[in-house]
Point group: C2
Chain length 234, copies 2
DNA sequence: CGCAGAATTGAGACTGGTCAAAATTTGTGG
DNA sequence: CCACAAATTTTGACCAGTCTCAATTCTGCG
């Protein structure tokens, strides 16, 4: 665990859990929050651990993943500042959460947050909205995993990163891709090799540029979008 | 739309949205509910329609699906009595909902339900719980779609139907499979042919029996479970 | 009983996976 | 700041699981 005493500005982003609350609401949320910093690669919690806390990501990138007994892994989400995670089912986390980069987290005891939400309609409403949007995202990902080709998956992944960077106020086109090829592969239901080959192909066609391993420039967003929609198989 | 005036017992199942509420809460929910019946194959709403209602399924089976522009389809869920659906994002439904069999639905105007939830902590809490459980299910399905083989997918599908039937108080082993092979294929990210071949293989090995097209008997649950966990590749 | 749609079965093709090697990047210590 | 080791990524050759296309059989319904 990294040291430092971060100020828990858990309203990093306007869509964060505790943003847009009344001053009173904000005070309530503040009273039950804690915070932590983790170095890249560290684990926030593991699939199967007792689910006691819910988190809001303040800075850095987090990945959520599920494992099969033989080691096959599916990454079910990458999180960026403002995103939240950590709701368990039956008191147990359904996935592992790990820091991709150094991260700062805002932490809430789940039961206290839920109790607070019962007294604060605005917070409850916010919770519901965020869950609905998480669910919609997961359903979108099911479509990707079940029905799209490698090329379409990669194009969609890049556009999704770009869109999310933009929403956080970062530039939409040279985007940081902090996760490894293995992480990308496990997120898209592919292998490292296929991800690499697909990126190379997109580069060869001039749709993207790869100035460095963890940077991607989208050169032809319209073409990428066509691929991501499943229209052009060329 | 079928005729008939169903009594909206929207607490069909203990996990239903409006089950387990106080009498007062129940009265509140009752005051905003409507109901409808649809024949098999009819559409409740389509992806992209304005999202005005949320539904609880009272009887029958519903499927939720998303389409790609070229017609590829992913079924993101099958619903059974007690399940709810219909939360839209940005006022629009993210998927199409269709009746697999004849169904009876309980309908709520989304805005009225949300307003009610703000005044009724128990309802809000219930909403959150159900959304968390939907999300967990979606994440489980991502693992299936991204990382499992056809054999594992089919085994897991059958066990999931069995488990849900059991939870509704129906027998766990000769289970009704009301959906077509095409629906199953689109749910598992496979083709009709692969689903059919896989079922035939499981039958040949004595793990299941197929007394009729829409009935499946699980003959060796332990073996199926092993396959579904990704342990035995035999 | 006959027909239309659904499901099964078969043969061959292709996308993406596997295994292996080469190239590149990253991180570390001098 | 550089050199070197380790890890990651890229590239290549080949393979396998699933898909495609096509024919046949089965099922349910009028």
């Amino acid at each position: 665990v990294l040291d430092g005493t971060p100020t828990c500005n858990c309203d990093v982003e306007e869509r964060a859990l505790c943003a847009g609350l009344t001053p009173e609401g904000m005070r309530g949320v503040r009273s039950i929050r804690g915070n932590s910093r983790l170095a890249a690669q560290q684990t926030v919690f593991r699939e199967g651990d007792p689910a006691e806390h819910v988190y809001t990501l303040m800075s850095g990138t987090v990945k959520l993943s599920k494992l099969l007994l033989d080691g096959r892994r599916q990454i079910i989400g990458f999180l960026f500042p403002g995103d939240f995670f950590g709701f368990g089912l039956d008191g147990v986390y359904g996935y592992t959460a790990e820091a991709v980069t150094d991260v700062a987290l805002c932490r809430f005891a789940e039961n206290r947050l839920m109790r607070l939400a019962e007294d604060m309609p605005e917070l409850g409403r916010r919770l519901t909205d965020r869950l609905v949007s998480e669910l919609a995202f997961a359903q979108e990902q099911m479509l990707l995993l079940g029905r799209m080709t490698a090329r379409e998956k990669v194009a969609r992944f890049l556009l999704s990163l770009s869109r999310r960077a933009e929403r956080r106020g970062e530039p939409a086109t040279p985007i940081a891709v902090p996760m490894s090829r293995l992480d990308i592969a496990d997120y898209l239901g592919l292998t490292i090799e296929t991800v690499s080959r697909t990126l190379t192909a997109l580069k060869r066609e001039g749709l993207v540029a790869l100035p460095s391993g963890h940077m991607v420039a989208l050169r032809d967003v319209a073409a990428l979008r066509r691929i991501a929609e499943g229209q052009s198989n060329s």
